[in-house]
C-alpha cells in the first residue's frame, strides 16, 4: 500500500470518531470529513502542507459540521459540537485511540452482525460501499442501504461511543469476528489474478494489527492476527504456475513466507503467555500444527483431532464441525467421520462446498464409490473458484484411490 494511503487510512477512522462521538451522526461526519479532504487536496499544494495535517483536517471538518447544523437550525447540535472539543480533551478514558472507540461502536449488539464488517471497513478505513460490496459479494445498492440503515440506527438510538469495562471482552470478540469475516472474503477468493479480486485480506490484517496494538492484553487479538498470517504465508504456495489449486499436503513449504510464519508463531506464544485460551488462538494453533506437520513430514493427527474437538465445543460453526469430522476420521476411521457429518444439525450444508467435499472423501475411503461420486458432483457444483473446481473434478475422476480433500477444508476452501 502507498505510504500516503496508509497515513490517510491511519487518520481517517480517528478523525471520524472524534467528529461523530457527540452527535452520533456517522453519515454527517463522513460527509464533513470528505469535504475536508477535498479542501486539503486543493489547498495544500497551493499553501503548503500544514504543520499538523490531522488538526487541520479536523478543524475544516468541524466547520463543515457546524455549517450543516446551522443550516438545519438545530442550535443544540451546534452547541454540542463546539463543546465537544473541551469535553473531549478532558476525558482520559480507556480509549487510547479513537479508532478503537469506532470499532466498538460498529460491533455494538444493536448493530446487526451482518453489517458490522462493512461498517468497520467504511468508518475506520474509509472504503467505499461499492468496493466493500464487491469484496463481500453483495449488490452495491444493497450494501449502500445496509450501511445507511446501520448509521441511522447509531444516530437515532444514540448508540454510545463509550463502552462499559464489563462489556469490553465480549465487544472485542465481536470486533475480531467482523475483522475475520473481512479476511475470509479474500481467502476464499484465491484466484490471485488481479489484486482487486484478492478481497479484503490486506485491510483485515491492518485492522487486526490495530487491535493488537490497541488491546495488548487481549490474547484473541493476537490469535486472530496469527491465524491470518499463517494463511497469508501460504498464499503463493496455494497455486501452481498454471493457476491450479494446490492443497496443503502437496504444497512446497519452501514457498511459504517464513517471515509471516515466524511472526505468527511469536504472536501465538505471546497470546499464550496472557493465559486465556479462545477460539481464535485455537484456530491459529491448528494452523501452527499443520505447518509443523508439513515441515517435519509427520502429521500429528491425534493432536489435530484434539484441537478441533476443543474448538467444536467453543464455536460449533458448520466449518469447524466439518473440519472436526475429517480430523476425527484420521484417528478413528472414515465411518466415525461420516457419522459426525450425518449428525450435523443444520440446513446450511445444502450449499456449503467443504461439507460435500469432506463427505465425498469419507465415502470414498469407505469404498462407497457411487455415493462419493455424487457427493463430489455436489461439491464441484458449489465451488466458486475455478482452481478448486478443477481440483475437485480431478479428485472425482481419480475415485477409487483416495487422497485427501480434507486438505482443502483446512485450507479454508
Amino acid at each position: 500500500m502507498h505510504p500516503a494511503e496508509l497515513a490517510a487510512r491511519a487518520s481517517y477512522g480517528r478523525l471520524l470518531s472524534i467528529l461523530a462521538v457527540r452527535t452520533h451522526d456517522l453519515a454527517g461526519a463522513e460527509d464533513a470529513l470528505a469535504d475536508a479532504f477535498l479542501a486539503a487536496v486543493t489547498q495544500w499544494p497551493r499553501d503548503g502542507v500544514p504543520q499538523s495535517p490531522e488538526a487541520w483536517l479536523l478543524t475544516a471538518a468541524r466547520r463543515k459540521l457546524c455549517d450543516g447544523a446551522r443550516r438545519r437550525r438545530t442550535r443544540d447540535e451546534k452547541h454540542v459540537l463546539l463543546q465537544a472539543d473541551v469535553d473531549y480533551a478532558a476525558e482520559g478514558d480507556f480509549f487510547s485511540d479513537e479508532r478503537l472507540r469506532l470499532l466498538f461502536v460498529c460491533a455494538h449488539p444493536e448493530i446487526d452482525a451482518s453489517v458490522r464488517t462493512p461498517l468497520m471497513l467504511q468508518t475506520v478505513l474509509g472504503l467505499d460501499a461499492a468496493r466493500i460490496a464487491t469484496a463481500l459479494r453483495v449488490a452495491p445498492k444493497t450494501m449502500g442501504q445496509r450501511l445507511w440503515r446501520a448509521k441511522t440506527k447509531i444516530r437515532s438510538a444514540r448508540i454510545s461511543f463509550d463502552v462499559a469495562v464489563e462489556a469490553l471482552p465480549e465487544r472485542a470478540f465481536a470486533v475480531l469476528e467482523a475483522i475475520y469475516a473481512a479476511y475470509g472474503s479474500g481467502w476464499e477468493d484465491v484466484a490471485g489474478q488481479a489484486t482487486a479480486s484478492r478481497g479484503l485480506t490486506e485491510e483485515a490484517i491492518w485492522l487486526a494489527r490495530l487491535m493488537v496494538q490497541l488491546l495488548p492484553e487481549e490474547p484473541e487479538a493476537r490469535g486472530l492476527l496469527a491465524l491470518m498470517l499463517y494463511a497469508e504465508a501460504r498464499t503463493n504456495a496455494r497455486r501452481g504456475e498454471d493457476g491450479a489449486y494446490i492443497p496443503l499436503s502437496e504444497q512446497d513449504p519452501s514457498r511459504w513466507d517464513p517471515n509471516r510464519i515466524a511472526e505468527a508463531e511469536a504472536l501465538l506464544a505471546e497470546a499464550a503467555r496472557i493465559g486465556r485460551m479462545g477460539p481464535l488462538q485455537l484456530e491459529a494453533a491448528i494452523q501452527s500444527a499443520h505447518v509443523d506437520a508439513r515441515r517435519s513430514g509427520s502429521p500429528d493427527d491425534r493432536a489435530l483431532s484434539l484441537l478441533y474437538g476443543v474448538l467444536v465445543q467453543m464455536t460449533p460453526t458448520l466449518g469447524v464441525l466439518v473440519a472436526h469430522a475429517v480430523a476425527l476420521s484420521r484417528t478413528e476411521g472414515p465411518a466415525c467421520g461420516l457419522d459426525r457429518l450425518d449428525a450435523i444439525e443444520s440446513t446450511a450444508q445444502a450449499d456449503y462446498q467443504p461439507y460435500w467435499s469432506a463427505r465425498a472423501y469419507l465415502l470414498d475411503r469407505l469404498g462407497r464409490i457411487d455415493d462419493a461420486r455424487e457427493a463430489y458432483d455436489r461439491a464441484i457444483g458449489l465451488a466458486e473458484e475455478d482452481g478448486v473446481r478443477r481440483w475437485l473434478l480431478a479428485k472425482k475422476r481419480a475415485l477409487g484411490g483416495a487422497t485427501s480433500p480434507s486438505d482443502a477444508i483446512r485450507d479454508g476452501v
Partner: protein, 116 residues
C-alpha cells in the same frame, strides 16, 4: 424471492461447450443448484447465431428472421429460475456459475409477482 438467472456467453464460451471438463463442471453446477432446492426450472440454449429465429410485427406486418433479435458480443446461453431468500443468496449462486470462468456474465432479474 424468485429470480431469473440469465447466463450470457461469449463466442469463445459457446465453443468451449465441447470441453469435457467444462461439461462436467456444468453438470455438477446444475445438479447442485437443483439439489439445494434453489432452481425450479431452466435450460441451456443452442447457439443463437446459427439457430435462433426471431418474430416481430412491424407496422402490423409479420416479420420472421433467422438469427437473434440483437447482434451482440455476448449471447443468452441459458437461464435458470431460482427461489432464494434474498439477492445475496442469488449472487452466491451466480458466483458459482461455470460460465463466468470463461468470460460469461450472469444477470439476475427479480421475477414479477405472480398475477394470480
Amino acid at each position: 424471492m424468485r429470480y431469473a438467472m440469465l447466463i450470457y456467453e461469449t463466442e469463445a464460451g459457446v465453443k468451449d461447450r465441447g470441453d469435457p471438463e467444462y461439461q462436467a463442471a456444468y453438470k455438477a453446477y446444475i445438479k447442485a443448484i437443483y439439489d439445494a432446492g434453489v432452481a425450479f426450472a431452466g435450460s441451456g440454449l443452442e447457439d443463437a447465431a446459427t439457430t435462433a429465429t426471431t418474430f416481430r410485427l412491424i407496422a402490423g406486418k409479420r416479420q420472421i428472421e433467422d438469427g437473434p433479435f440483437a447482434d451482440t458480443k455476448e449471447q443468452l446461453a441459458g437461464f435458470l429460475l431460482i427461489d432464494v431468500p434474498d439477492l445475496d443468496k442469488a449472487l452466491e449462486w451466480a458466483a458459482r456459475c461455470p460460465s463466468t470462468t470463461r468470460g460469461g456474465i450472469v444477470e439476475l432479474r427479480p421475477a414479477l409477482e405472480q398475477l394470480t
